[in-house]
Amino acid sequence: MATIVLIEDETALQRTLAAALKDAGHTVVTASDGAAGLALAREHKPDAVILDLILPKMDGFSVLEALKKDKTTAHIPVVVLTNLEGPEDVERVVGLGATTYLVKANYDLSDVVNKVEEVLPRAQ
């Protein structure tokens, strides 16, 4: 099963999504701010990163940019999970190299787990 780094500052969302991913058999490493999340992704080289956009210390856009610029992490699929739904945000995130863009409120927990599993290298 996969290792996933989950970068989400909302404790409630981090907690529930981590529980669902673990229940699906994955190993989940969590961070509550952008800088810590980026460090965890570099350390663990996970199979996927789930990334919120509005984050303390370093926002999701900067984390995504840093992940894609770093040769050792550029290949890791990034699922952006946010409640920002402006077309300019989607465009920017896709331009920076995110694999999927999900608006949190539109998905059930199981749908998010499925979407993340779809981007795992093994499933491709």
Binding site: D23, S62, L109
Partner: protein, 316 residues
């Protein structure tokens, strides 16, 4: 149709502004001024047919008056457009602020429907707590919105009574201790001895104290030092919270107590917030007979304080 002729009503109902700020009324004034000006210019031109300089001067004065009125009309339109822009911004902020607790509640329910999670008592208890906390968060957001709309229509009723501000400040600091600890910041409480109660609406004053402490914690950086002080000075009690946070850019100082105002440097640090806290705080403190103010430097920190009359027997 006839209703449309009542300009005062049109200004109030359609634009929600007084007649002197209302484009419809100002446009009529401009029309009257233009016609009067044209007639006056024509009379001057006839009267001073031998002296074109006077007629030209009269036309110039009329043109200047019409130009000024035109400028006032444009200003009133700009203000109305700005209000409309603020409404869109407000809807955007509110939607985002409501989506987060709603998602948390939906995912909590999803988690409780997942056998692997629900069968673990510790997990189950945690998820129930998350559900309740986010429900409360939504209720608080809606209550804040209701208060704001009551302020807009002038219908807020404060119920002042003696309030032990020192005891509540202590409680509020304890409530924010976890958030502060997460950022490894320290919060010190420095009250004068024997702080007397103040005379204010307890529910509303709690909101002000919570907001000010919450802002100090939210906008602090790692290892920041926050000091909450209470001072008595004659018949006044002053509450102050000083942080070493991100501060507020100088050019945004004058908007900081306005509705939906959030400093431009908050977003990378903190996504939560309605931009309502300081607007509400200013209203509540001033409606309670007090004053509120702040000083701040971007990158250095902020100090917010308010003063309220101490409670005496004559207060009530």
């Amino acid at each position: 149709m006839l209703h449309k002729l009542n300009v005062r009503a049109v200004c109030r109902e359609e634009f929600n502004v007084s007649v002197w700020r209302c484009p419809t009324f100002l446009f009529i004034v401009m029309g009257v001024a233009t016609i009067t000006g044209a007639v006056a210019s024509s009379l001057f031109a006839t009267q001073y047919a031998d002296d074109p300089g006077v007629a030209a001067l009269a036309s110039l004065v009329v043109a200047a008056i019409i130009f000024t009125l035109g400028h006032i009309v444009i200003q009133s339109l700009t203000r109305i457009l700005e209000a409309s822009r603020m409404k869109s911004k407000f809807l955007n902020i509110i939607s985002h602020q409501l989506l987060t607790p709603l998602t948390a509640m939906k995912w909590s329910l999803n988690a409780l429907e997942t056998d692997g999670i629900a069968s673990d008592p510790k997990e189950r208890e945690d998820i129930y707590r998350i559900f309740k906390e986010n429900n409360l968060r939504m209720v608080n957001i809606i209550n804040t919105l209701l208060d704001i709309s009551r302020i807009d229509v002038g219908k807020v009723q404060l119920r002042p009574e003696p309030f032990d501000i020192a005891a509540y400040t202590k409680t509020a600091i304890a409530m924010h201790a976890d958030d502060c600890a997460k950022k490894t910041c320290t919060m010190t409480f420095a009250p004068d001895d024997d702080i007397p109660p103040v005379f204010a609406d307890p529910a509303r004053l709690r909101i002000v104290i919570d907001n000010l402490i919450d802002n100090a914690v939210k906008y602090s950086r790692e290892n920041a030092a926050i000091v909450v002080a209470l001072k008595k000075d004659g018949g006044t009690v002053t509450f102050a919270v000083t942080d070493t946070g991100i501060g507020i850019p100088q050019h945004e100082h004058r908007h900081i107590f306005s509705k939906f105002s959030r400093a431009s440097n908050v977003f990378p640090v903190e996504g939560k917030g309605l931009g309502m806290g300081l607007f509400l705080a200013k209203f509540i403190i001033e409606a309670s007979g007090g004053t509120i103010n702040f000083e701040s430097r971007e990158g250095v920190g902020s100090k917010f304080w308010f003063s309220l009359p101490a409670y005496t027997r004559s207060s009530s």
